[in-house]
């Protein structure tokens, strides 16, 4: 027994949400070969098939790459400041991949740890994630290595599974149930969850490995081809570094929180000119160490969902998976001979 929504009914539902004034985001093909999660202006933009996963992640709907946190303006000889309120948006992310949704509970740790980042938590509360289980995977996918899978439920409010003619609807939270209440009908059939990618690395061994190999020369070899761009971090569902800058004019300005990336040389550049992570190898090491040792040590979860976006978006085919394979010693080394 399961709940089902017909394939043709889903766009109608999206349109209904839009009509209700909700902000709706979901995968859309913006140009051939480029499927991205975007804010949908109409249900027609929504694309649910024909790609492995969007090139970006859903984190930008809870943690946008650019957010005003405070405004200031000059008034005579004084400066007036005004804190920006966390935005009040009621939003639905539809068609999220399980590996995207699973990133949200991971991120929750960070944004609620020593200080509650209201910009994140308010958005998070107002967001309902409707996840669509994966039908296919590619070489970059490795969610199963992180105890996730094509139908993982972490972070989702609703999980949709494709069945002939429609989607099985598994409402996992109250938010999810509210969204689909009255929109489904009960049927006999239940969806068959397709197999995910084979398990390629054993995360359990990684922490110890990284602990032991902090100063290993392999990092220098690994990082040789890394160009130092932010394509991996900016499309990663879990990367969350940000920078706070003031952008202003003579009249005043705005303090903004922007995404930042540990692979940029400027990321750790001190005002003095000194840079504790002056080379790309140190920055690559930081990225891996943070995801698979430091974050889990602190919060008990890996900072990775195995989505493979880092590899897919890397200009030179570098991704955490290939690095992990190498560090775990389970695969031949192809980089930085």
């Amino acid at each position: 027994m399961s709940e089902l929504i017909a394939q043709e009914a889903l766009p109608g539902l999206v349109a209904k949400w839009l009509a209700q004034g909700k902000r709706v985001a979901g995968p859309s093909v913006v140009k051939p070969g480029y499927c991205l999660y975007v804010e949908l202006k109409s249900s027609a933009q929504l694309a649910l098939e024909g790609f492995i996963r969007p090139r970006n992640s859903i984190k930008e709907f809870v943690f946008p790459h650019h957010e005003a946190i405070c405004r200031y303006h000059f008034s005579g000889h004084t400066v007036e400041t005004e804190d920006c309120d966390p935005p009040q948006v009621d939003q639905v992310i539809v068609g999220a991949r399980p590996c995207d949704a699973a990133a949200l509970p991971i991120l929750d740790h960070l944004f609620t740890w020593d200080y509650e980042d209201k910009f994140y938590t308010e958005r998070r509360k107002a967001t309902t994630v409707v996840t669509l289980a994966c039908q296919a995977h590619d070489d970059a996918c490795f969610c199963t290595s992180l105890d996730l899978g094509p139908a993982a439920e972490q972070g989702s409010d609703v999980l949709l599974l494709a069945v002939p003619g429609g989607y099985e609807v598994r409402c996992l939270t109250d938010k999810g149930r509210a969204l689909f209440a009255g929109e489904t009908r009960t049927v006999e059939q239940t969806a068959v969850v397709p197999p995910g990618p084979p398990v390629m690395v054993a995360p359990g061994t990684i922490m110890a490995f990284l602990q032991a190999r902090y100063d290993d020369p392999m990092w220098a070899d690994l990082a040789l081809r890394c160009l130092g761009c932010g394509a991996c971090a900016y499309t990663c569902p879990t990367c969350h570094c940000f920078d706070i800058v003031d952008e202003g004019t003579a009249a005043g300005g705005c303090r903004v929180k922007n995404w930042d990336c540990c692979q940029f040389a400027m990321f750790t550049q001190h005002a003095s000119g000194h840079n504790p992570r002056s080379g790309q190898s140190q920055r690559q090491r930081q990225r891996i160490q943070h995801k698979f040792r430091i974050y889990p040590e602190k919060f008990g979860v890996m900072l990775c969902t195995g989505c493979g976006n880092c590899a897919r978006n890397c200009p030179v085919g570098l991704g955490v998976l290939s690095t992990l394979k190498e560090t775990a010693g389970s695969a031949p080394v192809e980089v930085g001979v």
Binding site: G76, T249, A250
Partner: protein
């Protein structure tokens, strides 16, 4: 937030008639960073300046904006006032609310007021980012290089030497004297050219402060104002002028007499060992290897044998010597337009129709000067080159090459009208029954006594002037048939002449462009060197410490060349009058850490003030390359900043911060 004082000037009624000064001042006082805003009737007056000084002290102002007229008018005034109160003068800026606001917009209109406030706000924003600067000090070598030993170079050298400065005079030819040494008599006074010049030449040769390099050329110029490093190539003359006593026995005995004389423009032949002309300075001979039998065929060696001083040296080599100078005067003079068919540049078609080089009795005006000169090949008698006959009819053609866009050059060579009139006169004085004809376009005789001089040639000495061009010269039966037009008579004119003299255009001397590139001087499309400003800086150039005089700048006559030479010398004296040089500190500098060393700035800099430099670590290993600005050369245009992709070069006074701050203040 800054402590900026804004001083708003009424400029009497000039500014005050457009605004309610109190309201304007109130609005300005609200600009962030403004500590005090004050208006006053005449800010540039002594009480106005006193007010600024007082406020700088009492309000502890960090910077000052004077809102009044154009900075071109009074920036220096107000910077001096601030300096008097102990504020670094570069922390003063002006907001131009007079020329660019109150004078050009409707008084009291909202937009006018808004604009004034906006101008002041932008200036306040700029001055917030101004930095205290100190003038740049540059050491100064008080010696001068003069390039060219014609009359202009001689005058400049003597003026400088007489005022106590050492001069290095470099002349390309074996003797100084230039073109003037070969002239007959000079207009408008008809005094003898050599009589007035040669004493000056001797003075140069003997002056203790002048180091003379003849038969030498400037090989390279390095450095900058106050500190030029000059390499001079002394060409081999095969006669050691230190040993040579000037007895000229070698010259007397040299059997060769084949080479055309340079000094007589080919009208005579000279020997292989020769002094260019009897009054040459130095009066020392030189050997022309191309006509020397010893060198060509190892057959002669007479000079070697007769020289008592052992001064002949066939193994002589070019020598490079270096000299340090603080200033350079360029006086390289002119040459004549190539009249005939063989032109170095397709742009100039030449005047094949005049038969110059084809008919021996068609000569140019410098050749005619030699025919007139008492020291010339004919001893001052006018005899034509072909057969030595005294020409009874001479045709002078003006503007050969000048003022002719189609075949020549568009500019006026300026002296041809005058010397052509002089030629007709001197000719008439020597050939009483001769008739001079002149074809001219216009007569340009602006100058003291010039017009009178031309009238005298026409009215007293009977030169016949035809206003028109000559289309063709042909030779028939020993006569030159000159066919032209007289546009005043409206009729064609044909004259059967015995001699034709072409007043060819003046062009800059050969090699001047190479020299200009070595010294980094600008030049126009014709190769004349560019002055810094045609009105106000006529002898200065855009390269600091380099001055120009004489015909290398533009066609000019002797008095002008001499006056300009003295002016250039005067400018050098001004430069040398200080212990060291100070320069405005608003120059560019490179952030060497971020410089990518692409050197786009090096290519761009109009003053070649940016060099490629190395940064090395303490062990001496090359860490990286960088661009580096020589502040002594930088003139502060900022073109380097615009081409620098990473903005690693910045310009004091108009820095990126200052300009962005202004743009940010636009709203």
């Amino acid at each position: 937030m800054g402590r900026i004082g804004v001083f708003i000037c009424w400029c009497g009624e000039n500014i005050a008639r457009a605004f309610d000064m109190d309201e304007l001042t109130e609005a300005v006082a609200e600009i962030p960073g403004v500590r005090c805003a004050i208006h006053y009737k005449y800010m540039c007056s002594e009480p106005g300046q006193a007010l600024i000084r007082e406020k700088i002290r009492s309000e502890k102002l960090e910077a000052v904006v004077v809102a009044s007229c154009s900075p071109h008018m009074h920036l220096k005034t107000f910077r001096a006032a601030a300096a008097a109160a102990g504020l670094n003068p570069y922390l003063v800026e002006m907001a131009n609310i007079r020329e660019q606001c109150s004078w050009v917009h409707e008084p009291y209109e909202d937009e006018t007021v808004a604009k004034a406030v906006s101008i002041i706000r932008m200036t306040v924003h700029k001055v917030l980012r101004n930095r205290a600067l100190e003038p740049i000090r540059v050491p100064l070598t008080k010696r001068a290089l003069v390039v060219g030993g014609g009359v202009a170079g001689i005058q400049a050298s003597l003026d400088l030497a007489d005022s106590g400065y050492e001069v290095v005079l470099v002349e390309r030819e074996p003797s100084i004297g230039g073109k003037m040494a070969g002239l007959s008599e000079t207009f408008p006074t008809l005094d003898c050219s050599q009589c007035i010049l040669t004493p000056r030449m001797v003075e140069v040769g003997q002056h203790p402060n002048i180091r003379l390099y003849t038969y030498s050329e400037v090989e390279s110029v390095e450095g900058f104002v106050g500190n030029f490093n000059i390499t001079i190539r002394q060409k081999a003359r095969y006669v050691d002028i230190e040993k040579c006593t000037g007895c000229l026995e070698c010259w007397n005995r040299c059997p060769s007499r084949e080479a055309p004389s340079e000094f007589d423009y080919g009208l005579t032949k000279r020997k292989a060992i020769y002094v260019p002309f009897p009054q040459a300075v130095p009066a020392r001979p030189i050997i022309d290897l191309n006509s020397c039998a010893k060198f060509l065929r190892n057959e002669c060696g007479t000079c070697l044998k007769v020289c008592q001083a052992n001064a002949i040296n066939f193994d002589d080599q070019d020598m490079l010597v270096t000299e340090q100078v603080g200033a350079i005067v360029v006086a390289t003079g002119y040459r004549m337009y190539d009249i005939g068919r063989e032109q170095e540049n397709a742009k100039y078609a030449g005047y094949g129709e005049y038969g110059y080089g084809q008919y021996r009795d068609v000569i140019d005006s410098l050749q005619f000067e030699r025919l007139l000169s008492a020291s010339g090949p004919t001893g001052g008698e006018v005899k034509r080159p072909s057969d030595g006959a005294v020409p009874k009819k001479v045709v002078f053609i003006a503007c050969v090459g000048s003022r002719d866009n189609a075949k020549g050059i568009p500019y006026c060579s300026k002296i041809c009208c005058m010397y052509t009139a002089k030629h007709t006169m001197l000719y008439k004085h020597k050939v009483h029954d001769g008739q001079a004809h002149v074809f001219y376009m216009d007569i340009r005789a602006g100058g003291k006594g010039y017009e009178e001089f031309v009238r005298r040639a026409i009215e007293k000495d009977g030169a016949r002037y035809h206003r028109g061009r000559v289309s063709k010269i042909t030779e028939e039966n020993g006569k030159l048939i000159v066919r032209g037009a007289d546009t005043l008579a409206g009729a064609p004119v044909t004259i059967e002449a015995d001699l034709v003299v072409l007043a060819a255009a003046m062009r800059p001397a050969t090699g001047v462009l190479e020299l200009a590139q070595k010294i980094k001087l600008g030049y126009d499309e014709f190769g004349f060197l560019s002055e810094s400003h045609p009105k106000l800086r006529p002898v200065e150039t855009n390269t600091a410490g380099v001055y120009i005089c004489g015909a290398c700048h533009a066609p000019k006559d002797i008095p002008e060349a001499v006056a300009q030479a003295s002016a250039a010398a005067g400018k050098v004296q001004v430069l040398f009058s200080k212990g060291e040089l100070t320069r405005e500190p608003e120059v560019a500098s490179v952030n060497e850490q971020t410089c990518a060393a692409c050197f786009a700035c090096v290519r761009t800099c109009p003053y070649l003030a940016i060099d490629k430099a190395e940064i090395r670590d303490r062990q001496g290993n090359l860490r990286k390359m960088t661009a580096r600005v020589n502040p002594s050369l930088c003139m502060g245009c900022g073109t380097c900043v615009a081409v620098c992709p990473s903005k690693s070069v910045d310009l004091e006074g108009f820095s990126e911060e200052q300009i962005y701050e202004m743009v940010n203040g636009l709203i």
